[in-house]
């Protein structure tokens, strides 16, 4: 069942907003209708087998980390970040997994959803039907981006959740040693893990906005996804070239690693705020670019 089918169903009719003032009062308020559209979009995303399989793959990394560390204890200073700390506190399984997955796996997952958002519908021909009902294209893009953002947050929280669950089961919790060498209790530690996860989820959502824009340019969802992944990898490469240091702070991926700043004492907010502002900037510009492209696009597919 596609969003187009849902949108054309009688219940979704109030989506048309132009005759709003002629509508009798017994109609549902507009806000309620727009959540319905978003919910149908989310049902599509999370209902697809391929997306469920993708989330399964994302969960493999924390499981592998947790199991390998039980088999052989890593030495400090070797292996991925936070790995050596796992034995002291299971929460580090989540952080270590995030630091591994943020370079490719999570951007790929968000890129798949974002690349599919418009191009996927165009490819299988449902976009035309979706637009045949008078859903305003601007609102369609807003709902699509909201769905991408929610998926991004859910996918990142999912990795953290699996990591925390596996870590606590195998290594237990307790006081968490921060990067600064201080210790915090379990409650604040879990709160910081959640904040770091949400921060990363929002960062990935900005990449999703770029994906949404690319998705309006093509009718091949796989092409849009590949483009997002290439941009992501390119950004990491540029970030590692010292001669381009003037460019680094503007790169979409530059502030992602700042999620570790939640685990300093006190929290180093500067980089995190810069990261959120950068993410918001990218999201705004590329959502507007998607709007500029999509509003007068001829939909033939």
């Amino acid at each position: 069942m596609s969003a187009a089918e849902l949108a054309t169903s009688p219940a979704a009719r109030p989506l048309r907003h132009r005759p709003l003032r002629h509508r009798p009062l017994r109609h549902r308020p507009l806000r309620h209708v727009s959540t319905r559209f978003l919910r149908s979009e989310l049902r599509l995303i999370f209902g697809r087998r391929r997306n469920q399989a993708g989330l399964g793959v994302l969960a493999v990394v924390p499981l592998i980390l947790a199991i390998t560390v039980t088999v052989s204890t890593p030495r400090p200073g070797h292996g991925p970040d936070f790995l050596a700390s796992i034995t002291s506190n299971g929460l580090f399984v989540a952080l270590s997994s995030l630091s591994i997955e943020l370079t490719l796996f999570l951007p790929l997952a968000v890129g798949t959803i974002a690349g599919d958002s418009i191009a996927g519908e165009a490819n299988i021909g449902t976009l035309r039907y979706l637009l045949a009902v008078p859903v305003h294209r601007t609102r369609l893009l807003a709902v699509k981006f909201a769905a991408i953002t929610i998926f991004s947050l859910v996918a990142t929280l999912w990795v953290s959740l699996v990591g925390v669950a596996a870590g606590l089961a195998l290594f237990g919790g307790g006081e968490m040693t921060m990067l600064s060498g201080g210790q915090i209790g379990m409650g604040p530690a879990v709160l910081r893990v959640v904040m770091a996860t949400v921060y990363l989820g929002l960062c990935f959502a900005s990449l999703g906005a770029i994906g949404l824009f690319i998705s309006t340019l093509t009718e091949q969802p796989i092409g849009a996804t590949i483009a997002v992944v290439i941009l992501n990898v390119m950004s990491f490469i540029l970030d590692s070239i010292p001669q381009l240091s003037w460019l680094h702070e503007w790169l979409p991926t530059h502030w992602w690693m700042a999620f570790g700043d939640f685990f300093r004492d006190p929290v180093a907010w500067d980089g995190l705020i810069r990261g959120l502002l950068t993410a918001a900037g990218y999201a705004l510009v590329f959502w507007l670019a998607a709007w500029a492209r999509f509003s007068d696009k001829d939909v033939t597919g």
Binding site: P76, D81, S88, S180, G181, P242, L284, S295
Partner: protein, 395 residues
């Protein structure tokens, strides 16, 4: 929306204008800070030095960004492998680094070097000094001797104001701050032109700038600028400019600063469980800290000598010439020999130079020149290669 319906291409202006506004706005915030008129009353260099000496700093916390671009190639030796984003204390020689600093009196200070998902801390709390590295989960503990703590309190400020090392200080005990400032200025005037330049803005605060210009012709340093806070009289920024490039080759500056006294809990350090704790030997001070630095042992190499004075001074040290087997042998002193062997190997890639002083390989940076002679002497200075040759010929 009707404009967009008549002229759909105009829609593209919306994201374009937004992007330009965001990038421009982000850059402009810094630009405005740079040109803001600080509006401070004029002060002479001597008055500024008195201000700095009389500064009564209760406490501060802030973020310091340090950048260096000395124009040197990356050395393939241990300790120089850091670079940008590393929390390794030995990585400070290159790239850009962010530090957080807390200071609450001479015996309470903390410096945290922030790396990507890592951090190194140097914490002084009373007689205790801790050096913590998150990457290897190691903590080194030093206890300052009681009499040393006395000395520390005199120079303690330089532990937190990273810039004072660049300000020449008098060696004899002055009778008053004014006297000290006069003496300091008199000491450096033969070699340095000292001026104050208009006012600068650092970390959102108005600051005076003290400009030191070397008179030495062979010096590679064009000028050293020290920005001093207009109200708290604490150095906020030090920039070193080379003659060959417009941007500073070395800069350390507060990007944010707060002059309220930090909480005492900030200076408490207890090694967390699972930490390798090393009890360090008696130490010089929080500055010379990292135990992993391969400092040349006085016995293995000739003690370095300084030739020349002021800005033209050059450091000459004799390296022990290692035989080829030293690099691979597993003896305890092999680490130093290995480093030297690597350095020697690296030096052969550098341009070869020769003169009346002999021959060797030259590494010419924007702010430093280094020469490794074929007879195993290493000569380093903030001077032109000609300055190095002259120093060698004179030795």
């Amino acid at each position: 929306m009707s404009i967009f319906e008549r002229n759909p291409a105009l829609r593209w202006a919306v994201p374009a204008v937004t992007a330009v506004a965001l990038v421009g706005g982000g850059s402009a915030i810094r630009g405005v800070q740079a040109i803001a008129d600080a509006g401070l009353p004029a002060r002479t260099a001597a008055q500024l030095l008195v201000d700095v000496q009389q500064a009564n700093l209760d406490g501060l916390s802030g973020t310091v960004v340090q950048r260096s671009d000395l124009g040197l190639p990356d050395l393939p030796i241990a300790g120089a492998a850091g670079g940008t984003g590393s929390s390794d204390l030995t990585s400070l020689v290159s790239g850009s680094h962010t530090m957080r600093i807390w200071f609450a009196g001479p015996d309470k200070a903390r410096m945290a070097l922030l790396g990507t998902l890592g951090e190194s801390d140097v914490i002084r709390n009373g007689q205790d000094v801790w050096v913590w590295a998150s990457k290897g989960k190691t903590a080194t503990h030093y206890v300052l001797p009681a009499h040393d703590a006395e000395d520390k309190s005199a120079t303690g400020k330089s532990g937190t104001s990273p810039d004072q090392s660049a300000v020449p200080t008098p060696t004899d005990l002055p009778t008053s701050p004014q006297d000290a400032a006069e003496k300091a200025l008199a000491a450096i005037t033969p070699s340095t032109e000292v001026t104050t330049s208009g006012t600068a803005t650092v970390a959102g605060r108005s600051a005076y700038e003290l400009v030191l210009k070397p008179k030495e012709a062979t010096s590679l340093v064009a000028q050293v600028r020290v920005a001093i806070d207009g109200t708290e009289h604490v150095p906020l920024r030090v920039q070193v400019f080379a003659k060959s490039v417009a941007d500073p080759v070395f800069e350390v500056a507060f990007s944010a600063v707060d002059f309220s006294r930090p909480d005492a809990a900030q200076f408490a350090f207890n090694p967390p469980p699972g930490t390798t704790v090393v009890e360090g030997k008696a130490m010089a001070g929080p500055g010379a800290t990292d135990p992993t630095v391969n400092a040349p042992q006085p016995g293995s190499a000739g003690m370095p000598t300084v030739i020349g004075k002021g800005w033209g001074s050059v450091l000459v040290a004799k390296l022990p010439v290692p035989d080829a087997s030293a690099a691979t042998s597993g003896s305890t002193s092999a680490t130093n020999d290995k480093t030297i062997a690597q350095l020697m190997k690296f030096a052969t890639l550098l341009p070869k130079v020769s003169g009346s002083w002999g021959s060797g390989h030259l590494m010419a940076g924007t702010a430093f020149s280094a020469l490794l002679t074929d007879d195993g002497r290493i000569v380093v200075g903030a001077v032109t290669p000609e300055g190095l040759y002259a120093a060698l010929a004179a030795s």
